[in-house]
Protein backbone atom coordinates (compact mmCIF):
# COMPACT_ATOMS: atom_id res chain seq x y z
CA UNK A 1 0.00 0.00 0.00
CA UNK A 2 2.81 2.35 0.90
CA UNK A 3 4.47 1.87 -2.47
CA UNK A 4 1.22 2.32 -4.41
CA UNK A 5 0.54 5.52 -2.52
CA UNK A 6 4.02 6.78 -3.27
CA UNK A 7 3.75 5.98 -6.97
CA UNK A 8 0.35 7.65 -7.05
CA UNK A 9 1.89 10.70 -5.45
CA UNK A 10 4.62 10.82 -8.09
CA UNK A 11 2.13 10.28 -10.91
CA UNK A 12 -0.02 13.18 -9.81
CA UNK A 13 2.60 15.59 -8.54
CA UNK A 14 2.60 17.68 -11.72
CA UNK A 15 -0.48 16.91 -13.79
CA UNK A 16 -0.67 18.18 -17.32
CA UNK A 17 -3.53 20.56 -18.05
CA UNK A 18 -5.07 21.15 -21.44
CA UNK A 19 -5.99 24.81 -21.20
CA UNK A 20 -8.69 26.17 -23.49
CA UNK A 21 -10.12 29.65 -23.54
CA UNK A 22 -13.86 30.22 -23.72
CA UNK A 23 -15.04 33.37 -25.51
CA UNK A 24 -14.00 36.30 -23.35
CA UNK A 25 -11.95 34.11 -21.04
CA UNK A 26 -8.54 35.54 -21.81
CA UNK A 27 -7.87 36.95 -18.36
CA UNK A 28 -8.84 33.66 -16.74
CA UNK A 29 -6.49 31.82 -19.12
CA UNK A 30 -3.64 34.16 -18.29
CA UNK A 31 -4.27 33.56 -14.61
CA UNK A 32 -4.18 29.80 -15.12
CA UNK A 33 -1.01 30.04 -17.19
CA UNK A 34 0.64 32.13 -14.52
CA UNK A 35 -0.36 29.64 -11.86
CA UNK A 36 0.99 26.74 -13.95
CA UNK A 37 4.29 28.56 -14.42
CA UNK A 38 4.55 29.22 -10.69
CA UNK A 39 3.93 25.57 -9.86
CA UNK A 40 6.20 24.21 -12.58
CA UNK A 41 3.33 22.23 -14.12
CA UNK A 42 3.74 21.91 -17.82
CA UNK A 43 0.64 22.18 -19.99
CA UNK A 44 -0.46 19.37 -22.27
CA UNK A 45 -0.33 20.23 -25.95
CA UNK A 46 -3.07 17.85 -26.98
CA UNK A 47 -6.07 16.43 -25.10
CA UNK A 48 -4.80 12.91 -25.78
CA UNK A 49 -2.05 13.15 -23.18
CA UNK A 50 -3.71 15.54 -20.74
CA UNK A 51 -4.89 14.80 -17.21
CA UNK A 52 -6.92 17.94 -16.76
CA UNK A 53 -9.23 19.90 -19.00
CA UNK A 54 -9.15 23.50 -17.88
CA UNK A 55 -11.85 25.68 -19.43
CA UNK A 56 -11.11 29.35 -18.85
CA UNK A 57 -14.12 31.62 -18.78
CA UNK A 58 -17.78 30.88 -19.02
CA UNK A 59 -18.91 28.67 -21.87
CA UNK A 60 -21.85 29.55 -24.03
CA UNK A 61 -24.43 26.76 -24.08
CA UNK A 62 -23.57 26.23 -27.76
CA UNK A 63 -19.98 25.51 -26.90
CA UNK A 64 -20.70 23.15 -24.03
CA UNK A 65 -20.97 20.34 -26.55
CA UNK A 66 -17.54 21.17 -27.94
CA UNK A 67 -16.11 21.08 -24.44
CA UNK A 68 -17.75 17.69 -23.84
CA UNK A 69 -16.18 16.35 -26.99
CA UNK A 70 -12.77 17.55 -25.86
CA UNK A 71 -13.40 16.02 -22.48
CA UNK A 72 -14.13 12.68 -24.14
CA UNK A 73 -10.67 12.79 -25.73
CA UNK A 74 -8.87 12.84 -22.40
CA UNK A 75 -7.79 9.27 -21.76
CA UNK A 76 -8.19 9.33 -17.99
CA UNK A 77 -7.51 9.45 -15.09
CA UNK A 78 -8.90 12.88 -15.73
CA UNK A 79 -10.36 15.91 -14.05
CA UNK A 80 -12.15 18.95 -15.34
CA UNK A 81 -12.17 22.51 -14.13
CA UNK A 82 -13.86 25.72 -15.16
CA UNK A 83 -12.22 28.94 -14.11
CA UNK A 84 -14.64 31.84 -14.12
CA UNK A 85 -12.75 34.11 -11.74
CA UNK A 86 -9.03 34.69 -12.39
CA UNK A 87 -8.45 34.70 -8.64
CA UNK A 88 -9.65 31.13 -8.34
CA UNK A 89 -7.12 29.57 -10.70
CA UNK A 90 -4.89 28.30 -7.93
CA UNK A 91 -7.72 26.80 -5.90
CA UNK A 92 -9.09 25.16 -9.02
CA UNK A 93 -5.76 23.52 -9.80
CA UNK A 94 -5.50 22.27 -6.22
CA UNK A 95 -8.94 20.76 -6.54
CA UNK A 96 -8.28 18.91 -9.82
CA UNK A 97 -5.06 17.56 -8.40
CA UNK A 98 -6.99 16.24 -5.43
CA UNK A 99 -9.49 14.61 -7.78
CA UNK A 100 -6.69 12.97 -9.75
CA UNK A 101 -5.18 11.60 -6.57
CA UNK A 102 -8.48 10.02 -5.55
CA UNK A 103 -7.75 6.63 -7.06
CA UNK A 104 -10.99 4.79 -6.14
CA UNK A 105 -13.11 7.56 -7.65
CA UNK A 106 -11.00 7.58 -10.81
CA UNK A 107 -11.37 3.82 -11.18
CA UNK A 108 -15.10 4.07 -10.70
CA UNK A 109 -15.34 6.81 -13.29
CA UNK A 110 -13.26 4.77 -15.74
CA UNK A 111 -15.55 1.76 -15.36
CA UNK A 112 -18.64 3.87 -15.88
CA UNK A 113 -17.06 5.47 -18.89
CA UNK A 114 -16.23 2.12 -20.47
CA UNK A 115 -19.86 1.16 -20.06
CA UNK A 116 -21.41 4.39 -21.34
CA UNK A 117 -19.07 5.57 -24.03
CA UNK A 118 -19.14 2.53 -26.27
CA UNK A 119 -18.24 4.74 -29.14
CA UNK A 120 -19.16 8.32 -28.45
CA UNK A 121 -18.50 9.34 -32.01
CA UNK A 122 -20.75 6.80 -33.62
CA UNK A 123 -23.41 7.18 -30.99
CA UNK A 124 -23.62 10.91 -31.50
CA UNK A 125 -23.35 10.74 -35.24
CA UNK A 126 -27.04 10.75 -36.01
CA UNK A 127 -28.04 13.49 -33.70
CA UNK A 128 -25.27 15.81 -34.79
CA UNK A 129 -25.44 15.11 -38.48
CA UNK A 130 -27.83 17.89 -39.24
CA UNK A 131 -26.45 20.35 -36.77
CA UNK A 132 -25.30 23.58 -38.27
CA UNK A 133 -22.84 24.23 -35.52
CA UNK A 134 -19.38 22.88 -35.81
CA UNK A 135 -18.89 21.48 -32.37
CA UNK A 136 -15.14 22.00 -32.30
CA UNK A 137 -13.43 18.77 -33.10
CA UNK A 138 -10.05 20.31 -32.50
CA UNK A 139 -8.95 18.53 -35.56
CA UNK A 140 -7.36 15.58 -33.87
CA UNK A 141 -8.35 12.28 -35.23
CA UNK A 142 -12.01 12.53 -34.82
CA UNK A 143 -12.33 15.33 -37.24
CA UNK A 144 -15.16 15.86 -39.56
CA UNK A 145 -17.49 13.41 -37.93
CA UNK A 146 -21.01 13.98 -38.85
CA UNK A 147 -20.72 17.54 -39.92
CA UNK A 148 -21.07 16.48 -43.48
CA UNK A 149 -24.82 16.23 -43.28
CA UNK A 150 -24.83 13.79 -46.15
CA UNK A 151 -22.25 11.43 -44.67
CA UNK A 152 -23.83 8.07 -45.32
CA UNK A 153 -22.04 5.32 -43.52
CA UNK A 154 -20.83 3.52 -46.61
CA UNK A 155 -18.86 6.52 -47.71
CA UNK A 156 -17.79 7.30 -44.19
CA UNK A 157 -15.72 4.55 -42.60
CA UNK A 158 -15.93 4.87 -38.85
CA UNK A 159 -18.17 7.89 -39.19
CA UNK A 160 -15.45 9.95 -40.83
CA UNK A 161 -16.36 11.42 -44.17
CA UNK A 162 -13.96 10.55 -46.94
CA UNK A 163 -11.89 13.23 -48.56
CA UNK A 164 -13.35 14.58 -51.76
CA UNK A 165 -11.45 15.44 -54.90
CA UNK A 166 -11.00 18.94 -56.22
CA UNK A 167 -8.55 20.85 -58.31
CA UNK A 168 -5.40 21.87 -56.55
CA UNK A 169 -3.77 25.23 -57.19
CA UNK A 170 -1.65 23.70 -59.93
CA UNK A 171 -4.75 22.35 -61.67
CA UNK A 172 -4.14 18.71 -60.79
CA UNK A 173 -6.81 16.75 -58.98
CA UNK A 174 -6.14 16.45 -55.29
CA UNK A 175 -7.98 15.14 -52.26
CA UNK A 176 -9.52 17.88 -50.19
CA UNK A 177 -10.44 17.51 -46.57
CA UNK A 178 -12.46 19.72 -44.31
CA UNK A 179 -10.52 20.29 -41.15
CA UNK A 180 -11.97 22.32 -38.31
CA UNK A 181 -9.81 24.23 -35.85
CA UNK A 182 -11.45 25.56 -32.70
CA UNK A 183 -13.71 26.88 -31.26
CA UNK A 184 -11.98 25.42 -28.22
CA UNK A 185 -8.30 24.74 -28.67
CA UNK A 186 -5.23 25.37 -26.61
CA UNK A 187 -3.41 28.65 -27.26
CA UNK A 188 -6.19 29.76 -29.54
CA UNK A 189 -8.47 32.81 -29.39
CA UNK A 190 -11.52 31.78 -27.40
CA UNK A 191 -14.54 30.88 -29.50
CA UNK A 192 -12.86 31.30 -32.88
CA UNK A 193 -13.92 28.53 -35.19
CA UNK A 194 -12.04 28.00 -38.39
CA UNK A 195 -13.07 25.52 -41.05
CA UNK A 196 -10.21 24.79 -43.37
CA UNK A 197 -10.41 23.10 -46.72
CA UNK A 198 -7.11 21.31 -46.95
CA UNK A 199 -5.38 20.32 -50.15
CA UNK A 200 -2.82 17.97 -48.70
CA UNK A 201 -1.48 20.17 -45.93
CA UNK A 202 -2.12 23.46 -47.73
CA UNK A 203 -5.14 25.55 -46.84
CA UNK A 204 -7.18 25.93 -50.01
CA UNK A 205 -10.01 27.81 -48.42
CA UNK A 206 -11.02 28.92 -44.97
CA UNK A 207 -14.11 30.28 -43.35
CA UNK A 208 -14.23 31.68 -39.86
CA UNK A 209 -16.83 32.28 -37.27
CA UNK A 210 -16.61 33.72 -33.80
CA UNK A 211 -18.73 32.43 -30.96
CA UNK A 212 -19.57 34.85 -28.21
CA UNK A 213 -18.12 38.29 -27.74
CA UNK A 214 -14.63 39.27 -26.82
CA UNK A 215 -13.87 41.39 -23.82
CA UNK A 216 -12.40 44.57 -25.13
CA UNK A 217 -11.30 46.46 -22.08
CA UNK A 218 -7.82 45.02 -21.68
CA UNK A 219 -4.92 47.34 -22.54
CA UNK A 220 -3.56 46.60 -25.97
CA UNK A 221 -0.05 46.11 -24.65
CA UNK A 222 -1.18 43.19 -22.53
CA UNK A 223 -2.99 41.67 -25.49
CA UNK A 224 0.04 42.14 -27.72
CA UNK A 225 2.49 40.59 -25.27
CA UNK A 226 0.02 37.78 -24.74
CA UNK A 227 0.05 37.16 -28.49
CA UNK A 228 3.84 37.14 -28.47
CA UNK A 229 3.89 34.62 -25.62
CA UNK A 230 1.43 32.34 -27.39
CA UNK A 231 3.25 32.55 -30.70
CA UNK A 232 6.63 31.78 -29.15
CA UNK A 233 5.16 28.89 -27.22
CA UNK A 234 3.68 27.44 -30.42
CA UNK A 235 7.03 27.86 -32.15
CA UNK A 236 8.67 25.75 -29.45
CA UNK A 237 10.56 28.65 -27.88
CA UNK A 238 9.54 28.00 -24.28
CA UNK A 239 12.24 30.26 -22.87
CA UNK A 240 11.02 33.26 -24.84
CA UNK A 241 7.40 32.40 -24.17
CA UNK A 242 8.00 32.39 -20.43
CA UNK A 243 9.77 35.74 -20.60
CA UNK A 244 6.86 37.19 -22.56
CA UNK A 245 4.41 35.81 -20.00
CA UNK A 246 6.47 37.50 -17.30
CA UNK A 247 6.22 40.86 -19.03
CA UNK A 248 2.52 40.32 -19.57
CA UNK A 249 2.07 39.58 -15.88
CA UNK A 250 3.93 42.74 -14.90
CA UNK A 251 1.61 44.76 -17.11
CA UNK A 252 -1.50 43.15 -15.67
CA UNK A 253 -0.29 43.80 -12.14
CA UNK A 254 0.62 47.34 -13.19
CA UNK A 255 4.01 47.02 -11.61
CA UNK A 256 7.09 48.32 -13.36
CA UNK A 257 7.71 46.47 -16.59
CA UNK A 258 11.32 45.30 -16.82
CA UNK A 259 12.26 47.41 -19.83
CA UNK A 260 15.61 45.71 -20.42
CA UNK A 261 14.04 42.28 -20.52
CA UNK A 262 11.34 43.56 -22.82
CA UNK A 263 13.92 45.06 -25.15
CA UNK A 264 15.91 41.83 -25.16
CA UNK A 265 12.80 39.85 -25.98
CA UNK A 266 11.98 42.23 -28.81
CA UNK A 267 15.37 41.58 -30.41
CA UNK A 268 14.90 37.87 -29.93
CA UNK A 269 11.50 37.95 -31.58
CA UNK A 270 12.83 40.05 -34.45
CA UNK A 271 15.63 37.53 -34.97
CA UNK A 272 13.18 34.62 -34.95
CA UNK A 273 11.02 36.44 -37.49
CA UNK A 274 14.06 37.03 -39.69
CA UNK A 275 14.63 33.27 -39.62
CA UNK A 276 10.93 32.80 -40.43
CA UNK A 277 10.49 30.74 -37.28
CA UNK A 278 7.56 32.97 -36.41
CA UNK A 279 5.51 35.07 -38.82
CA UNK A 280 6.88 38.53 -39.51
CA UNK A 281 3.81 40.09 -38.03
CA UNK A 282 4.92 39.39 -34.48
CA UNK A 283 7.99 41.49 -34.81
CA UNK A 284 6.88 44.18 -37.19
CA UNK A 285 3.24 44.75 -36.37
CA UNK A 286 2.60 43.65 -32.82
CA UNK A 287 5.65 44.86 -31.00
CA UNK A 288 5.64 48.16 -32.83
CA UNK A 289 2.02 48.52 -31.94
CA UNK A 290 2.76 47.89 -28.30
CA UNK A 291 4.75 51.08 -28.20
CA UNK A 292 1.93 53.09 -29.75
CA UNK A 293 -0.75 54.82 -27.78
CA UNK A 294 -3.62 52.64 -26.76
CA UNK A 295 -6.22 54.55 -28.70
CA UNK A 296 -4.45 54.69 -32.04
CA UNK A 297 -6.49 53.04 -34.78
CA UNK A 298 -5.20 49.58 -35.52
CA UNK A 299 -5.34 47.60 -38.72
CA UNK A 300 -7.58 44.58 -38.72
CA UNK A 301 -6.99 41.29 -40.45
CA UNK A 302 -9.65 38.98 -41.78
CA UNK A 303 -9.06 35.44 -40.68
CA UNK A 304 -9.89 33.82 -43.98
CA UNK A 305 -7.53 36.02 -45.99
CA UNK A 306 -4.82 35.48 -43.43
CA UNK A 307 -4.54 31.71 -43.64
CA UNK A 308 -5.55 30.96 -47.23
CA UNK A 309 -2.69 29.41 -49.18
CA UNK A 310 -0.57 28.63 -46.14
CA UNK A 311 0.61 25.35 -44.65
CA UNK A 312 -1.63 23.84 -42.01
CA UNK A 313 1.37 24.17 -39.71
CA UNK A 314 1.53 27.92 -40.28
CA UNK A 315 -2.14 28.48 -39.53
CA UNK A 316 -1.89 28.41 -35.76
CA UNK A 317 1.22 30.57 -35.73
CA UNK A 318 -0.50 33.11 -37.97
CA UNK A 319 -3.66 33.15 -35.89
CA UNK A 320 -1.71 33.47 -32.65
CA UNK A 321 0.48 36.28 -33.90
CA UNK A 322 -2.46 38.20 -35.34
CA UNK A 323 -4.91 37.43 -32.58
CA UNK A 324 -5.36 41.02 -31.34
CA UNK A 325 -6.11 42.22 -34.86
CA UNK A 326 -8.42 39.50 -36.11
CA UNK A 327 -11.88 39.97 -37.45
CA UNK A 328 -14.00 37.17 -38.79
CA UNK A 329 -15.91 37.38 -42.02
CA UNK A 330 -19.03 39.01 -40.66
CA UNK A 331 -21.24 38.22 -43.61
CA UNK A 332 -20.51 34.59 -43.37
CA UNK A 333 -21.20 34.46 -39.66
CA UNK A 334 -24.51 36.18 -40.28
CA UNK A 335 -25.39 33.73 -43.02
CA UNK A 336 -24.74 30.81 -40.72
CA UNK A 337 -26.99 32.19 -38.05
Amino acid sequence: MGLTQQLLGLATRRPRCYVVEAPGGASQRMAVERELDARGWRPAWSPASADVLAVCGELLPELAQAADLLWSQLPGPRARMTVTDPGEAGAGLDEVRRQLTDDPAQRRAARERDRDEVSPRLASHGEMGHGEMGHGEMGHGEMGHGEMGHGDMEMAPGGIALAEGAEDRDGLEMDVLTHPLGPLLDRWPGGLELRLTLHGDVVGDASAQRWGSQERHRPFQVVAWDAVATTLSLAGDERGARAARGIRAAMIDEVEVPTRRAAKLRTRVARLAAWSVVPDSVATTLLDLTSDADHAPRPTVRVGDLVRGHDLADVRLLIASHSPLLTTDEHEAAARD
Binding site: L7, L8, L10, A11, T12, R13, R14, P15, R16, G40, W45, S46, A48, S49, D51, Q73, P75, G76, P77, A110, R121, M138, G139, H140, G141, E142, M143, H145, P157, G158, G159, I160, L177, H179, D186, R187, L198, D201, L232, S233, L234, A235, G236, D237, E238, R239, G240, R242, L272, W275, S276, V277, V278, L312, A313, D314, V315, R316, L317
Partner: protein, 304 residues
Protein backbone atom coordinates in the same frame (compact mmCIF):
# COMPACT_ATOMS: atom_id res chain seq x y z
CA UNK B 1 27.98 -20.60 -20.34
CA UNK B 2 30.13 -17.90 -18.81
CA UNK B 3 30.38 -16.32 -22.24
CA UNK B 4 26.61 -16.17 -22.53
CA UNK B 5 26.32 -14.71 -19.05
CA UNK B 6 28.95 -12.14 -19.91
CA UNK B 7 27.08 -11.24 -23.08
CA UNK B 8 23.84 -10.75 -21.16
CA UNK B 9 25.60 -8.60 -18.60
CA UNK B 10 27.17 -6.43 -21.29
CA UNK B 11 23.81 -6.08 -23.04
CA UNK B 12 22.21 -5.02 -19.77
CA UNK B 13 25.01 -2.55 -19.22
CA UNK B 14 24.50 -1.04 -22.66
CA UNK B 15 20.74 -0.79 -22.11
CA UNK B 16 21.38 0.96 -18.80
CA UNK B 17 23.84 3.32 -20.46
CA UNK B 18 21.37 4.21 -23.23
CA UNK B 19 18.62 4.83 -20.66
CA UNK B 20 20.99 7.02 -18.64
CA UNK B 21 21.77 8.98 -21.80
CA UNK B 22 18.04 9.32 -22.47
CA UNK B 23 17.60 10.71 -18.96
CA UNK B 24 20.44 13.17 -19.52
CA UNK B 25 18.89 14.21 -22.81
CA UNK B 26 15.49 14.80 -21.24
CA UNK B 27 16.89 16.81 -18.34
CA UNK B 28 19.28 18.88 -20.45
CA UNK B 29 16.54 19.62 -22.97
CA UNK B 30 14.26 20.91 -20.22
CA UNK B 31 17.06 23.02 -18.74
CA UNK B 32 17.71 24.42 -22.20
CA UNK B 33 14.05 25.39 -22.40
CA UNK B 34 14.41 27.30 -19.15
CA UNK B 35 13.34 24.81 -16.48
CA UNK B 36 15.22 24.74 -13.16
CA UNK B 37 17.80 21.93 -13.14
CA UNK B 38 16.46 20.18 -10.03
CA UNK B 39 12.94 20.05 -11.46
CA UNK B 40 14.22 18.94 -14.85
CA UNK B 41 16.13 16.01 -13.31
CA UNK B 42 13.03 14.78 -11.49
CA UNK B 43 10.64 15.26 -14.40
CA UNK B 44 11.40 11.99 -16.22
CA UNK B 45 10.50 9.94 -13.15
CA UNK B 46 7.25 11.84 -12.60
CA UNK B 47 6.33 11.56 -16.25
CA UNK B 48 7.01 7.83 -16.30
CA UNK B 49 4.68 7.35 -13.32
CA UNK B 50 2.05 9.67 -14.78
CA UNK B 51 2.01 8.07 -18.21
CA UNK B 52 2.05 4.52 -16.83
CA UNK B 53 -1.10 5.39 -14.92
CA UNK B 54 -2.76 7.01 -17.91
CA UNK B 55 -5.04 4.86 -20.05
CA UNK B 56 -4.36 4.02 -23.66
CA UNK B 57 -6.63 5.36 -26.32
CA UNK B 58 -7.20 4.80 -29.98
CA UNK B 59 -8.81 6.86 -32.67
CA UNK B 60 -11.52 5.97 -35.17
CA UNK B 61 -10.30 3.51 -37.80
CA UNK B 62 -6.73 3.76 -36.55
CA UNK B 63 -4.18 1.48 -38.17
CA UNK B 64 -3.34 0.20 -34.72
CA UNK B 65 -0.73 -2.42 -35.67
CA UNK B 66 1.42 -0.02 -37.71
CA UNK B 67 0.80 2.83 -35.27
CA UNK B 68 2.10 0.84 -32.31
CA UNK B 69 4.95 -0.58 -34.39
CA UNK B 70 6.06 2.95 -35.22
CA UNK B 71 5.94 4.02 -31.59
CA UNK B 72 7.40 0.98 -29.91
CA UNK B 73 10.11 0.55 -32.56
CA UNK B 74 12.07 3.69 -31.70
CA UNK B 75 13.56 2.45 -28.44
CA UNK B 76 14.88 -0.85 -29.93
CA UNK B 77 16.55 1.14 -32.71
CA UNK B 78 18.26 3.29 -30.09
CA UNK B 79 19.39 0.20 -28.15
CA UNK B 80 20.79 -1.37 -31.32
CA UNK B 81 22.70 1.83 -32.02
CA UNK B 82 24.08 1.55 -28.50
CA UNK B 83 25.11 -2.04 -29.19
CA UNK B 84 27.18 -0.87 -32.15
CA UNK B 85 29.30 1.46 -30.03
CA UNK B 86 32.64 -0.02 -28.96
CA UNK B 87 32.35 0.82 -25.26
CA UNK B 88 35.56 -1.07 -24.48
CA UNK B 89 37.76 -2.94 -26.93
CA UNK B 90 34.91 -3.84 -29.23
CA UNK B 91 31.16 -3.51 -29.54
CA UNK B 92 28.54 -5.98 -28.34
CA UNK B 93 27.70 -6.79 -31.94
CA UNK B 94 31.00 -7.74 -33.53
CA UNK B 95 30.95 -6.14 -36.95
CA UNK B 96 33.45 -4.59 -39.26
CA UNK B 97 30.69 -2.49 -40.83
CA UNK B 98 29.61 -0.41 -37.82
CA UNK B 99 29.28 2.81 -39.81
CA UNK B 100 27.00 1.16 -42.37
CA UNK B 101 24.84 -0.37 -39.67
CA UNK B 102 24.52 2.92 -37.84
CA UNK B 103 23.36 4.55 -41.06
CA UNK B 104 20.91 1.71 -41.71
CA UNK B 105 19.41 2.10 -38.26
CA UNK B 106 18.92 5.81 -38.63
CA UNK B 107 17.16 5.28 -41.95
CA UNK B 108 14.86 2.82 -40.18
CA UNK B 109 13.66 5.77 -38.10
CA UNK B 110 12.18 7.26 -41.29
CA UNK B 111 9.72 4.42 -41.49
CA UNK B 112 8.95 4.39 -37.78
CA UNK B 113 8.17 8.09 -37.42
CA UNK B 114 6.11 8.11 -40.59
CA UNK B 115 4.11 5.08 -39.42
CA UNK B 116 3.54 6.83 -36.11
CA UNK B 117 1.92 9.68 -37.99
CA UNK B 118 0.06 7.44 -40.42
CA UNK B 119 -1.33 4.97 -37.93
CA UNK B 120 -3.34 7.42 -35.85
CA UNK B 121 -5.62 8.23 -38.79
CA UNK B 122 -5.58 11.88 -37.87
CA UNK B 123 -4.82 14.98 -39.87
CA UNK B 124 -2.24 16.23 -37.38
CA UNK B 125 -0.43 12.89 -37.39
CA UNK B 126 -0.37 12.50 -41.13
CA UNK B 127 0.85 16.06 -41.68
CA UNK B 128 3.52 15.41 -39.06
CA UNK B 129 4.57 12.19 -40.76
CA UNK B 130 4.98 13.85 -44.14
CA UNK B 131 6.79 16.76 -42.57
CA UNK B 132 9.23 14.24 -41.15
CA UNK B 133 9.92 12.83 -44.60
CA UNK B 134 10.61 16.34 -45.93
CA UNK B 135 12.84 16.97 -42.95
CA UNK B 136 14.62 13.65 -43.40
CA UNK B 137 15.51 14.74 -46.93
CA UNK B 138 17.14 17.80 -45.39
CA UNK B 139 19.27 16.05 -42.79
CA UNK B 140 19.92 12.57 -44.16
CA UNK B 141 22.12 13.39 -47.13
CA UNK B 142 24.48 15.63 -45.14
CA UNK B 143 24.49 12.94 -42.45
CA UNK B 144 25.54 10.24 -44.92
CA UNK B 145 28.34 12.37 -46.32
CA UNK B 146 29.39 13.19 -42.76
CA UNK B 147 29.76 9.48 -42.00
CA UNK B 148 32.05 9.13 -45.01
CA UNK B 149 34.70 11.48 -43.59
CA UNK B 150 35.90 9.51 -40.54
CA UNK B 151 35.55 6.21 -42.39
CA UNK B 152 37.76 7.51 -45.16
CA UNK B 153 40.35 8.91 -42.78
CA UNK B 154 40.60 5.60 -40.92
CA UNK B 155 40.25 3.51 -44.11
CA UNK B 156 37.72 1.37 -42.26
CA UNK B 157 34.02 1.07 -41.60
CA UNK B 158 34.69 -0.51 -38.22
CA UNK B 159 33.82 1.90 -35.40
CA UNK B 160 36.51 0.44 -33.13
CA UNK B 161 39.18 0.91 -35.79
CA UNK B 162 37.98 4.46 -36.46
CA UNK B 163 38.15 5.22 -32.73
CA UNK B 164 41.66 3.75 -32.54
CA UNK B 165 42.98 5.73 -35.48
CA UNK B 166 42.49 9.15 -33.84
CA UNK B 167 45.72 9.28 -31.88
CA UNK B 168 46.30 12.68 -30.51
CA UNK B 169 43.86 14.50 -32.75
CA UNK B 170 40.13 13.87 -32.64
CA UNK B 171 38.33 13.81 -35.95
CA UNK B 172 35.90 16.35 -34.51
CA UNK B 173 38.75 18.84 -34.46
CA UNK B 174 39.83 18.63 -38.06
CA UNK B 175 36.48 17.56 -39.51
CA UNK B 176 34.20 20.16 -37.90
CA UNK B 177 31.76 20.32 -40.80
CA UNK B 178 31.24 16.55 -40.77
CA UNK B 179 30.87 16.59 -36.97
CA UNK B 180 28.23 19.34 -37.04
CA UNK B 181 26.35 17.69 -39.92
CA UNK B 182 26.34 14.41 -38.01
CA UNK B 183 24.96 16.07 -34.86
CA UNK B 184 22.31 17.81 -36.95
CA UNK B 185 21.35 14.37 -38.23
CA UNK B 186 21.11 13.09 -34.66
CA UNK B 187 18.68 15.89 -33.80
CA UNK B 188 16.82 14.96 -36.96
CA UNK B 189 16.26 11.31 -36.22
CA UNK B 190 15.55 12.07 -32.58
CA UNK B 191 13.02 14.70 -33.82
CA UNK B 192 14.29 17.27 -31.33
CA UNK B 193 14.92 20.97 -31.06
CA UNK B 194 15.11 22.87 -34.33
CA UNK B 195 14.32 19.68 -36.23
CA UNK B 196 11.20 18.74 -34.26
CA UNK B 197 8.68 20.14 -36.73
CA UNK B 198 7.05 16.70 -37.27
CA UNK B 199 6.11 16.75 -33.60
CA UNK B 200 5.59 20.51 -33.57
CA UNK B 201 3.11 22.17 -31.27
CA UNK B 202 1.65 24.21 -34.10
CA UNK B 203 0.19 20.93 -35.37
CA UNK B 204 -0.88 19.90 -31.83
CA UNK B 205 2.11 17.60 -31.56
CA UNK B 206 1.95 16.20 -35.11
CA UNK B 207 2.91 12.55 -34.97
CA UNK B 208 2.42 12.64 -31.19
CA UNK B 209 -1.01 14.29 -31.24
CA UNK B 210 -3.09 11.18 -30.55
CA UNK B 211 -0.74 9.27 -28.25
CA UNK B 212 -1.47 8.73 -24.60
CA UNK B 213 -0.21 6.74 -21.66
CA UNK B 214 2.43 4.04 -22.23
CA UNK B 215 2.35 4.58 -25.99
CA UNK B 216 3.39 8.20 -25.55
CA UNK B 217 5.92 7.19 -22.90
CA UNK B 218 7.83 4.82 -25.19
CA UNK B 219 7.88 7.37 -28.00
CA UNK B 220 9.28 10.08 -25.73
CA UNK B 221 11.75 7.64 -24.22
CA UNK B 222 12.67 6.36 -27.67
CA UNK B 223 13.36 9.85 -28.99
CA UNK B 224 15.55 10.74 -26.02
CA UNK B 225 17.32 7.38 -26.29
CA UNK B 226 17.92 8.00 -29.99
CA UNK B 227 19.50 11.35 -29.19
CA UNK B 228 21.69 9.71 -26.56
CA UNK B 229 22.62 6.72 -28.71
CA UNK B 230 23.33 8.96 -31.69
CA UNK B 231 25.68 10.99 -29.51
CA UNK B 232 27.27 7.76 -28.23
CA UNK B 233 28.01 6.69 -31.82
CA UNK B 234 29.69 10.07 -32.36
CA UNK B 235 32.20 9.20 -29.63
CA UNK B 236 34.11 6.54 -31.66
CA UNK B 237 33.44 8.43 -34.89
CA UNK B 238 34.65 11.88 -33.92
CA UNK B 239 35.80 12.02 -30.28
CA UNK B 240 38.54 9.40 -30.16
CA UNK B 241 36.45 6.62 -28.58
CA UNK B 242 37.69 5.48 -25.18
CA UNK B 243 41.06 7.23 -25.32
CA UNK B 244 41.84 9.49 -22.40
CA UNK B 245 44.01 9.72 -19.30
CA UNK B 246 43.34 8.24 -15.81
CA UNK B 247 40.01 6.55 -16.47
CA UNK B 248 39.53 3.13 -18.08
CA UNK B 249 38.33 3.16 -21.70
CA UNK B 250 34.65 2.30 -21.15
CA UNK B 251 34.37 5.10 -18.58
CA UNK B 252 35.72 7.60 -21.07
CA UNK B 253 33.19 6.51 -23.67
CA UNK B 254 30.38 6.97 -21.13
CA UNK B 255 31.67 10.35 -19.98
CA UNK B 256 32.12 11.66 -23.52
CA UNK B 257 28.70 10.35 -24.57
CA UNK B 258 27.05 11.94 -21.53
CA UNK B 259 28.67 15.31 -22.07
CA UNK B 260 27.86 15.29 -25.79
CA UNK B 261 24.26 14.20 -25.17
CA UNK B 262 23.70 16.84 -22.53
CA UNK B 263 25.21 19.64 -24.62
CA UNK B 264 23.30 18.65 -27.73
CA UNK B 265 20.01 18.36 -25.84
CA UNK B 266 20.61 21.66 -24.04
CA UNK B 267 21.14 23.37 -27.37
CA UNK B 268 18.05 21.68 -28.79
CA UNK B 269 16.04 22.96 -25.83
CA UNK B 270 17.22 26.52 -26.34
CA UNK B 271 16.39 26.65 -30.02
CA UNK B 272 12.92 27.05 -31.50
CA UNK B 273 11.49 24.78 -34.17
CA UNK B 274 12.63 25.69 -37.66
CA UNK B 275 10.12 25.66 -40.49
CA UNK B 276 10.57 22.64 -42.73
CA UNK B 277 11.12 24.56 -46.02
CA UNK B 278 13.75 26.62 -44.24
CA UNK B 279 15.52 23.47 -43.09
CA UNK B 280 15.65 22.03 -46.58
CA UNK B 281 17.36 25.23 -47.65
CA UNK B 282 19.91 25.05 -44.85
CA UNK B 283 20.50 21.33 -45.29
CA UNK B 284 21.07 21.36 -49.01
CA UNK B 285 22.41 24.80 -49.79
CA UNK B 286 24.66 25.31 -46.79
CA UNK B 287 25.45 22.07 -44.96
CA UNK B 288 25.65 19.61 -47.85
CA UNK B 289 28.27 21.52 -49.90
CA UNK B 290 30.30 22.10 -46.73
CA UNK B 291 30.29 18.40 -45.89
CA UNK B 292 31.23 17.38 -49.43
CA UNK B 293 34.07 19.89 -49.26
CA UNK B 294 35.04 18.35 -45.93
CA UNK B 295 35.14 14.90 -47.55
CA UNK B 296 37.36 16.30 -50.27
CA UNK B 297 39.76 17.76 -47.72
CA UNK B 298 39.87 14.45 -45.84
CA UNK B 299 40.51 12.56 -49.08
CA UNK B 300 43.39 14.86 -49.99
CA UNK B 301 44.90 14.56 -46.51
CA UNK B 302 44.60 10.77 -46.55
CA UNK B 303 46.23 10.43 -49.98
CA UNK B 304 49.14 12.74 -49.31
Amino acid sequence: MTELLQGVLVAAGIAAAVLALAWASSAALAVGAGRPAATALGDPLLEVCRLLRQRRRTTVSADVALWRLGGWGLLPVALLLGALVPWGEESLVPTSLGVVWANTLDVLVWALVWLLGWGANSVAGLVGGYRFLALALAYELPLMFALVAPAMAASSLDLAVIAGSQEGLWYAVWMPAAFVAYLLGVLGFAVRGPLSAPAGQETSGGVLAELSGPDLLVVRLGRHALLGAGAAVAVPLFLGGGSGPWLPDPMWVVVKALVLTASLAYLAGRLPVLRVPRLLEIGWVVVLPLVVLQDLVVAVVVVT
